[in-house]
């Protein structure tokens, strides 16, 4: 009886064998048949380019089991064609727009001129957070641009042997400065998020763009940060977070993702970086040559009273309510030299 059962199992297996064979994927299992090549010309040597091919390797490096990854071609296309166009258009576009704006509108002046009385705007910690982030961002933007565009812009100028040390330094600096950048980003988030929540008053600012485009236009009343600054704040927070996350993924290859993921992260990293560089160029413009008295806020931390009244009347009034009249309040006084 037992032998009979075994025979049954064997027969079932034999019967199932052709069915198994029929299921095999085409391509790998080969047998001479009616379609066999009879001359060399019939032999196909160039397989049609296939999608990703995964196998198995017996060496410890499991990621090498990826035999062919055609996605590399799309990434190459992005790196060599799309990225220079996108990044170039954004950065040069912003610079051209600002130049035009400066020539047409000119810098935003303090309406009543400087009063000479100073109002404290950003404390040491505020400025520390800002400049930590700012310096790291500028270093990373510059080094990133060197690695991205150096082959076209710098190698023809300084040659391969001089560019390599520069690119190597850029790579190391780019990685290193990510740490203070993230630290500054978190500090800014904690310090300023309260004053950057969007509110109804921001719509008024946005409607006139804060009087940016009218030469002697009125400034809508705003709190500590106006809608434009809130825009910068949130672009930096979200853009910076996206850059940090994608950047760390690239810095630690194969911890979280394989090559496919790194290609996508590189694309996100590069596009967000280009956008944020554009935003920051505009931010630098309006914080320096674009607006009279604006740099003091992040420079000395104290702004002119008239500047405060112009640009942040809501915040100024609040401050005044808290500290009393400008002349007598602590921390608000005449600047000796001016």
């Amino acid at each position: 009886m037992k032998a009979f059962r075994h025979l049954l199992v064997l027969m079932a297996l034999l019967l199932a064998a052709p069915a198994l064979q029929a299921q095999e994927p085409p391509g790998l299992y080969k047998q001479p048949g009616p379609n066999s090549p009879t001359s060399k010309e019939q032999v196909q040597i160039y397989n049609p380019a296939q999608d990703q091919i995964m196998g198995r390797v017996s060496i410890p490096d499991y990621k090498l089991s990826l035999l062919v990854q055609p996605e590399g071609r799309e990434w190459r296309e992005f790196r060599m064609v799309m990225l220079p166009i996108i990044a170039g258009a954004i950065i040069l576009g912003i610079v051209a727009a600002l130049l035009l704006f400066y020539l047409v509108r000119g810098p935003v002046r303090i309406v009543g001129g400087r009063s000479g009385r100073l109002v404290p705007r950003f404390g040491t910690l505020d400025r520390f957070a800002h400049w930590t982030t700012a310096v790291s961002f500028l270093v990373m933007a510059l080094t990133g641009l060197i690695v991205t565009f150096g082959r076209w812009l710098l190698i023809p100028l300084i040659g391969h042997s001089a560019f390599t040390p520069l690119a190597e330094f850029s790579k190391v600096a780019h990685n290193f400065f990510s740490v203070p950048f993230v630290a500054g980003l978190l500090l800014m988030l904690v310090l300023w998020v309260r004053d950057n929540i969007p509110e109804r008053a921001d719509l008024v600012w946005l409607k006139t763009m804060g009087g940016l485009f009218s030469k002697h236009g009125e400034h809508p009343e705003t709190g500590r940060f106006n809608a434009g600054q809130k825009g910068i704040f949130w672009s930096v927070i979200f853009g910076g977070a996206a850059l940090a996350v994608t950047g760390f993924m690239l810095m630690f290859p194969f911890y979280v993702t394989g090559i496919g993921g790194m290609q996508i992260f590189h694309v996100i990293h590069a596009v967000v970086a280009a956008l944020l560089i554009g935003v920051i160029i505009a931010h630098i413009y309006i914080g320096s040559v674009g607006m009279e008295g604006a740099f003091d806020a992040m420079g000395s931390g104290e702004v002119d009273e008239n500047w405060a009244k112009d640009h942040h009347r809501g915040w100024y009034n609040q401050l005044r309510r808290r500290t009393g009249p400008a002349d007598t309040a602590a921390g608000v006084g005449h600047r000796a030299a001016e």
Partner: protein, 210 residues
């Protein structure tokens, strides 16, 4: 002058990994770096095939295209080589390569990939042929001695072949006709393209050091 290529006959490869071992030994490749590896498709299933894969020395090498420091060059024989003096270890070639050929030492350190290392077709690098400096950076330069890559030379089943691409294709076609089947030359369509078989007499870009 011929257009140098690799061709792995999947019908013949028995996954003995001798090519991998020969490569590591010949060039004294450090731990963790595999210039060549054998990939088994459908392992343990009917139709299992193994393919020995390394840098395919493409016609239009993606690694060379994306390199930020432009450290790659292609010799007159179509061999794709790079300068480790110029390489900054950014990993871009690794993203672009369809075959996973570029290898990096210390891939897990804090942004510290070392200089890229890959199959040189046993043809060394930009250093003077046969020097100690060349050996330390790129391994043996068998090519300068008139020899073909060791992996292919010592393949026991003659599955992995290296040499003039036209000759390889001819040998492969003859085999396929004799045995009545063949799955094509793996990676050739990706590396050389069906309509771009490579110009064997086109001059290479040569070595650029500055």
């Amino acid at each position: 002058m011929a257009r140098m290529k690799f061709l792995c006959d999947a019908e013949r490869c028995i996954e003995c990994n001798a090519c991998v071992t020969a490569c590591k030994n010949e060039h004294e490749v450090p731990w963790g770096i595999n210039r060549r590896r054998v990939v088994t498709l459908q392992d343990g299933e009917p139709g299992e095939r193994s393919i020995s894969m390394a840098c395919m020395h493409c016609n239009d090498p993606p690694c060379a295209a994306v390199c930020p420091v432009d450290c790659f060059y292609q010799t007159a024989d179509g061999v794709v080589l790079h300068s480790k003096d110029l390489c900054i270890g950014c990993g871009y070639c690794f993203y672009a390569c369809p075959f996973g050929a570029p290898q990096f030492p210390q891939t897990t350190n804090f942004g510290g990939r070392g200089k890229m290392d890959k199959c040189t077709f046993c043809a060394g690098g930009p250093e003077e042929d046969g020097t100690q400096a060349e050996f330390q950076k790129y391994g043996k330069n068998r090519f300068a001695e008139g020899k073909l890559p060791l992996c292919a030379e010592m393949c026991s089943t003659r599955a992995l072949m290296a040499g003039d691409g036209d000759v390889l294709a001819d040998i492969y076609k003859e085999r396929a006709v004799r045995r009545g089947y063949g799955s094509g030359a793996w990676g050739w369509a990706t590396a050389y393209g069906a309509d771009d078989k490579g110009n064997a007499t086109a001059p290479g870009r040569g070595v650029r050091q500055s």
